[in-house]
């Protein structure tokens, strides 16, 4: 055992403190949604989600959720079909470009969303004229905002695989580039591609500023609208969204374990 490692007690204390840091706000939000004005507890507000009488109130949320899920799909497609192949190309054929590419990919994380919107507004004016003002067009902006997260996830997988040798071995066996990417590289970058996709979904579901300032209705903007009519519904949907993201993280973890097992 590593003599510098913290003791079991220390580890337990750290675990409990960190767990409490995350759990207390969630529990408080849950209590807020189930506690009635008379001090009793009830799941009535949760059951209200299925109440036909609430349909009009909930409509913006369902519309926003639908838009956000569509945006998530398009954004993931951008990550998998544009970013990932570009990264493979840069790493295999143009490794000298990697530092510049990395800098460009990580740049959006240092630019506040509000600044990004100021730059994107005139572009979206043109997009609105040519492609319409559908919420899906936000995917172009989201493709930029998820870039740093997706880049890091995919690059970590690329660094763990001897991509060049695998590609050359496949080429020597008669495989063309599409086969090399789809049948040899992608399965070995699975963990990174999956993590990039799921993180992109999480980022898209949680994004508010760009959608709000560009006047598109998504999940987060809809919650603000609904909050004005019912303060409990956004809390319920926030918990559901967090639960969804938690499940996504579990899926990533499972996939990661599977990949590590295969490589060990």
């Amino acid at each position: 055992m590593n003599p510098l490692a913290p003791s079991r007690v220390t580890r337990s204390v750290i675990g409990v403190l960190v767990g409490a840091f995350f759990a207390i706000p969630l529990l408080a939000t849950l209590l807020y949604t189930v506690r009635m004005p008379d001090g009793t507890y009830s799941l009535a507000r949760w059951a209200g989600l299925f109440d036909p009488g609430m349909a009009a109130t909930l409509k913006p949320i369902w519309t926003g959720l639908g838009n956000s899920l569509l945006l998530a799909i398009i954004t993931v497609a951008i990550v998998l079909l544009i970013l990932a192949p570009t990264m493979i190309l840069v790493n295999l054929r143009f490794p000298k470009l990697r530092p510049a590419f990395e800098f460009a990919a990580l740049l959006p994380i240092s630019i506040p969303a509000i600044v990004l919107v100021v730059g994107l507004a005139p572009i979206y004016l043109q997009i609105g004229r040519t492609l319409g003002t559908g919420a899906w067009t936000l995917a172009f902006a989201y493709g930029i905002t998820v870039l740093p997260f997706a880049y890091r996830s995919i690059q970590a997988s690329i660094d763990a695989v001897d991509m060049r040798t695998l590609a050359e071995a496949a080429r020597s066996l008669g495989a063309g580039w599409p086969t090399v990417v789809l049948k040899v590289l992608a399965p070995n970058l699975r963990q990174g591609l999956l993590a990039a996709s799921l993180i992109s979904v999480a980022v898209v579901l949680g994004e508010f500023t760009i959608a709000s300032l560009l006047n598109r209705q998504v999940f987060q903007t809809a919650m603000v609208v609904v909050q004005k009519q019912d303060g409990y519904l956004p809390a319920i949907f926030t918990l559901l969204a967090l639960l969804f993201c938690f499940v996504l993280l579990l899926v990533i973890g499972r996939a990661a374990r599977g990949t590590r097992k295969a490589r060990s």
Partner: protein, 359 residues
């Protein structure tokens, strides 16, 4: 090695005569640094040729040009008489084994082996059958369902060899496939590669920096240095008649000492040695370690100081510096144990020697 148990092994049934490989005036540069200076190499069908040389001599680059993984700046690559210089790797019909384990980690051994066949449109069932034949050839038929990480390094390279052979390529390219393996496995696999190559009659190019490996398996060896082939010939030719001091030093660890040739003999340290070929005037004499011995005071010989001495099991190899400053390597009985700084007297065994004009 486990050879296939049945006579139906598709690989053996279709063993061919091999393909002629020609590299003509290959030039390759990286950022202004020329690593191949117009290399010519003509390999006969079914021949096993090794590219031998120190790190950075251009041997792997030459192999990669042959494979199509690098495009030559100038020159031509011909396979079976057809110019494939501009043909991409995947259409050259080659088989290649790499230095690092190049099996696809997500595919089972049998699927790895079948990969090339599937790319050529062979049905899944037929590809599986032929893959098992190829795995039998390398003694790994029982490992077909395993994943690469469940195999040892030597087994992985065997699978890589089976994968490269199963498509019956025109030429088999081996890029230091043994260098990541431990010594015992390296010798086993080396001999196995040679046996399989002889059985299949496939033209093979083998890159190595290990002279013993090259001497053991090759029909011919091309010794490379600074982007050029210094000498090409059979292992015996290279060993007995090196053309240059670099070849002499690299193959057989020969020492180079000064001598004066007169017709059929050369004088070194006052000793007359027969020449392999007549020469005259000042020459470099290539002396193999086994042809240098410790001498008594009465012998015609020279004095030297021991620089280092290495125990190699059945023999000991000692490096000495003569009075004239020449470094000479001796191979002798392990019972004699010279140490650094010892003053010794050395003489030459009167075997015919190779020389090269001095200067």
């Amino acid at each position: 090695m486990t050879l296939p148990r049945t006579a139906e092994n598709a690989l053996l049934a279709e063993a061919g005569e091999g393909t002629r490989v020609q590299l003509q005036q290959i030039v390759k540069s990286y950022a202004g640094n020329t690593v191949l200076h117009g290399v010519d190499l003509d390999i006969a069908p079914g021949e096993f040729v090794s590219l031998l040389g120190p790190s950075g001599c251009g041997k792997t680059t030459l192999l990669r040009v042959l494979a199509g993984l690098e495009i030559a700046d100038d020159g031509a690559v011909l396979l079976g008489g057809r110019d494939v210089s501009r043909v991409p790797t995947n259409k050259r019909d080659i088989g290649m084994v790499f230095q690092s384990y190049s099996l696809f980690p997500h595919l089972r051994v049998v699927d790895n082996t079948a990969f090339g066949l599937r790319r050529r449109g062979v049905s899944k069932a037929d590809a599986a059958k032929r893959s098992l034949d190829a795995l039998a050839l390398v003694g790994l038929a029982d490992f077909a369902d395993r994943l690469p990480h469940q195999l040892s390094g030597g087994q992985q390279q065997r699978v890589a060899l089976a994968r490269a052979l199963v498509t019956e390529p025109k030429v088999l390219l081996l890029d230091e496939p043994l260098s990541a393996l431990d010594a015992k496995v390296r010798v086993q696999l080396r001999d196995e590669i040679r046996r399989i190559q002889l059985r299949l009659g496939i033209t093979t190019v083998f890159v190595t920096h290990d002279q013993e490996e090259a001497l053991a398996v090759s029909d011919r060896i091309a010794v490379m240095n600074s982007g050029r082939i210094e000498q090409i010939g059979s292992p015996e030719q290279l060993y007995t008649t090196p053309a240059t001091a670099d070849v002499a030093a690299f193959v057989g660890l020969s020492s180079v000492v000064a001598g004066v040739a007169e017709g059929d003999h050369v004088t070194v340290w006052g000793q007359r040695l027969p020449l392999q070929a007549p020469a005259d005037g000042p020459v470099d004499v290539f002396i193999r370690p086994e042809n240098v011995r410790f001498a008594g005071e009465a012998d015609a010989a020279t004095d030297a100081l021991v620089e280092e001495s290495t125990f190699l099991g059945s023999v000991r190899r000692t490096l000495v510096r003569t009075e004239s400053g020449e470094l000479v390597r001796l191979q002798h009985s392990p019972g004699i144990r010279p140490v650094f700084g010892d003053r010794v007297r050395i003489a030459l065994v009167p075997e015919p020697v190779a020389v090269h004009p001095r200067g």
